[in-house]
């Protein structure tokens, strides 16, 4: 049975708002959009199943009209940080059970996120620039991986790699991997072409497969080394464009001892960056100038990150990098949506701040929806919605507790990916068992689980 959609109010129909509303509507939520710009609203309302209200999201009257008192989730993603915080604060006054999400981008506020969250009662403060920087930095720390996502409050990582030609994993079963290489990682999904499999022990891996596995950060490096991957992080980075995202990224990289060079056009911004990032090399100039790039060492650095405000410039920079250098290129794309065209350019890693933001908010909405009438603590969607990861808290004895995992009769397409016990993550083997008080993360392709016992046949 389809789940009942949440009632959600979104303030701001800009880039992120637009993406968000379309995705949320597809998931069957009841959406009300508030924006001051009537034209943008009309465009949205024509193509999307939602109700639009023209006005300010911080206005009492408008919020009442939008039906704030029986709303489940309130999301404010306007251009202005202050307005977002104000909207959430006012919305919260109507309804104590309301979850509020605000987009806040200004670095001035970021150090105070925890204070704002606790004092203003905002459930989530999301910063697209920061999220984009974190995603870029993860890729730079582990250039071998296709993607690295943190999981379970950062205790575990979900890493995606592609098995290259002639790798030792080629032709080996998962059971062989567990017996001979390592027991510390658990493969939760294998993508072969368009198919997604949740593998069991007899599944045979092939070169070209994209595998996703759960591990802790430390074991991850050992595993990658043992299967012959390069696990070194980049040593030097060239960042083109000195905006907020560049600042966050440079900060993260410098803290890990990576050499950072930033090219920025605006002289005042250069000075600001000098103050903020004393260890970085700041160059004033146009990032599209070929000779400047050469001078900045585009041919020598390990990585080039294009973070200018213009998507077209970023794409050109990435193409140029690929043409003249072996450095890993990362491209940030803010606005344009020609997904197929961008994919065909083979730019390498591309970061979309608006998708990251929308994804975070959607997973929060999903998890809230999943909690209704179930024992699910957190829910993530994996592999472009083809699988779900649900975290269950084990409160009482049931058919799954106290039995060795290898003796459990699991449904097909279900895997117990890790057990959280006493603040530690256990990557389980067949001889582990689930105890009362554990947190259990289950990855599954069948959706709609509500109880941990649903994993059994």
């Amino acid at each position: 049975m389809a789940k009942k959609g949440l009632r959600i109010i979104v303030v701001g129909a800009g880039k992120v708002g637009d993406t968000l509303v379309n995705r949320l509507a597809d998931e069957g939520h009841n959406l009300v959009i508030i924006d001051k710009n009537e034209e943008r609203l009309t465009q949205l309302a024509n193509l999307c199943d939602c109700m639009c209200i023209t006005g300010s999201g911080a206005s009492h009257e408008v919020l009442v009209e939008a039906g704030i008192s029986d709303t489940d989730l309130f999301i404010s993603v306007t251009e202005s940080d202050e307005l977002n915080l104000l909207c959430c604060t006012i919305a919260k006054q109507f309804n104590k059970n309301l979850s509020t999400i605000a987009r806040v981008r200004n670095p001035d506020y970021i150090s105070e996120v925890n204070y704002l969250r606790s004092k203003l009662g905002i459930e989530m403060i999301i910063n697209p620039e920061y999220e984009a920087a974190v995603e870029a930095s993860r890729l730079l720390f582990l250039p071998a991986a296709l993607s690295v996502n943190s999981f379970a409050h950062g205790q575990a990582e979900l890493v995606k790699i592609q098995i290259p030609e002639g790798n030792i994993l080629d032709g080996k079963t998962i059971a062989y991997l567990g017996q001979n290489i390592t027991n510390d990682i658990l493969i939760v999904g294998v993508e072969r072409g368009a198919d997604l499999t949740i593998p069991n022990g007899s599944f045979e891996l092939k070169s070209g497969d994209i595998i996703s596995y759960i591990s802790t950060r430390k074991t991850n490096f050992n595993f990658l080394k043992s299967i012959g991957f390069n696990t070194r992080s980049v040593k030097s980075s060239l960042i083109v464009g000195g905006g907020t995202c560049a600042y966050y990224l440079a900060d993260l990289l410098i803290k890990s001892g990576i050499d950072v060079t930033i090219i920025e056009k605006d002289v005042h911004r250069c000075e600001d960056l000098c103050d903020l990032l004393p260890k970085a090399t700041i160059l004033k100039g146009d990032g599209t100038n070929e000779s400047l790039l050469e001078e900045a060492g585009i041919k020598e650095v390990d990585s080039v990150i294009a973070l200018t405000g213009l998507d077209e410039e970023n794409i050109m920079l990435a193409l140029h990098t690929k043409a003249v250098s072996t450095a890993k290129a990362i491209t940030k794309i803010n606005k344009i949506t020609f997904t197929e065209a961008i994919e065909s350019l083979k730019l390498g890693s591309v970061i979309y701040p608006k998708y990251i933001t929308a994804e975070r908010i959607i997973s929060s909405a999903r998890s809230r929806q999943a909690k209704i009438g179930s024992n699910i603590e957190v829910m993530y969607s994996l592999f472009s919605d083809r699988a779900e990861a649900c975290e269950f808290k084990i409160k009482e004895a049931s058919r799954v507790t106290g039995i060795m995992l290898k003796d459990l009769q699991l449904k097909p397409g279900v895997i117990i990916s890790f057990i959280g016990r006493d603040g530690k993550i256990i990557i389980p083997t067949g001889s582990d068992q689930i105890n009362i008080g554990d947190n259990v993360m289950v990855v599954t392709t069948s959706k709609g689980f509500t109880e941990i016992s649903d994993i059994l046949r």
Binding site: N30, L31, E38, T42, N46, C48, D49, C50
Partner: protein, 490 residues
Amino acid sequence: MKIKLQLYILGKVMAIEGILMLLPVICGLLYGELRNSVIYALFAIFFIAIGLLISRKKPEKVTIYLKDGCVATALSWVALSILGALPFVVTGEIPSFTDAVFETASGFTTTGASILTDVEAMSHISLMWRSLTHWIGGMGVLVFLLAVVPMAGGSNMNLMKAESPGPSVGKFVPKVRTTAKALYLIYFALTVIEILVLCIAGMPVFDSICSAFGTAGTGGFGIRNDSFASYAPHIQWIVAVFMILFGVNFNFYYLIIAKQPGKAIKLSEVKVYLAIILISTVTITINILNMTNGSAEAARHAFFQVATVITTTGFATTDFDKWPTLSKFLLVSLMFCGACAGSTGGGIKVSRFQIRAKMFLREIGSYINPRAVKKVQIDGKAIDPELERSVSTYFFVFLSIFTASAFILSFEGHDLVTTFTAVAATINNIGPGLSMVGPTSNYSFLSGVSKWVLIFDMLAGRLELFPLIIFLTPMTYKGAFKGLFSKKAG
């Protein structure tokens, strides 16, 4: 243009028509009309089968743009009218195909203009089907489709926009589907209430159901030759009140259900609508006082006729063709006025006149204060300039279609009143006009060409002109068939 999407919607609409046709079949069996029941049942099964066959492939997630919505709506309504006419032809009750299509189009568009000279000679099953077409057409078949069939994507609002009456179509709730369901729920509940009230008031059950269908859709097919004249006065009052209720913007009822009666009362369109009814009723009552037996009868006839014309239903309790010119003129004016937007009624709609009148006042103001900046407001909200433009265009297009239709009809050489009101009564979805097409007459004397022109007018009027025009504009189909042909070639 998306051919597959159009076929999918068309198929679903066909299947729905088939399923709804089963209701008269039940009625026919109860009355022992075996031969006709079998014919209707066969058509029903045929429509369901073909419909499901066409729509068995659900198109991939597609965006329905406004033009797709318009074409789908127009196509569905043309198909409904033609398919719905077939049982009439086959049973032999309306042997002429043109007549049968006229009758069915008149039913679905809730016009109520008939070509039947003797309604009482019809079988129960056909009478029921005739009245049911009103009920289906009143709220719209695509709105029904949206309520019962889950459609992918949010763009199906464009379907609802194309079918729903009124200059701007809003939603009560965030989801199109929930809105469509709410609309049908209100519609269904009001219809059931009317059936019950009429039964309690002493009307036979069959008559109650048919009359309620005719009232709910603001249609106007009666099941007696004299429409409502031979029913008891209290039944006439009940029907008149229900006609007015169905001519109210359905937002009004939704707001009451949503426990916001304060907002409901503030809807200015409803107020203007009720005021027009009151003033017209009083004027006509005084005007016809000396023609009737006492003021009570005058008031009843005046109220019933005003209600039937402004809501574009088209029942009659008396032959208003014999009334004085003042009363007749008022009724003809009300024909153009029509009911509220977002109701089941036809006509130009009260809110369009409201917007137009306010635009006129602003125009006057701009002569006095040329630099004044002023926006037209309805219910405290500024009207979008786009909407102003579309309302202005609507009036022009309406006038053009009206004139062109009247021109073609005038070739028949009937008197001006007949020609004029025949077009007015069909394009505004009322039914009876004056003179030769008055309440005691019918449209059967017209030629085939004139009937097809009026069928077009009825459909254009019900769908608010543009969907049908878009449907007939060749530009709409530019590139639509490209994919189809190249696939065959490759």
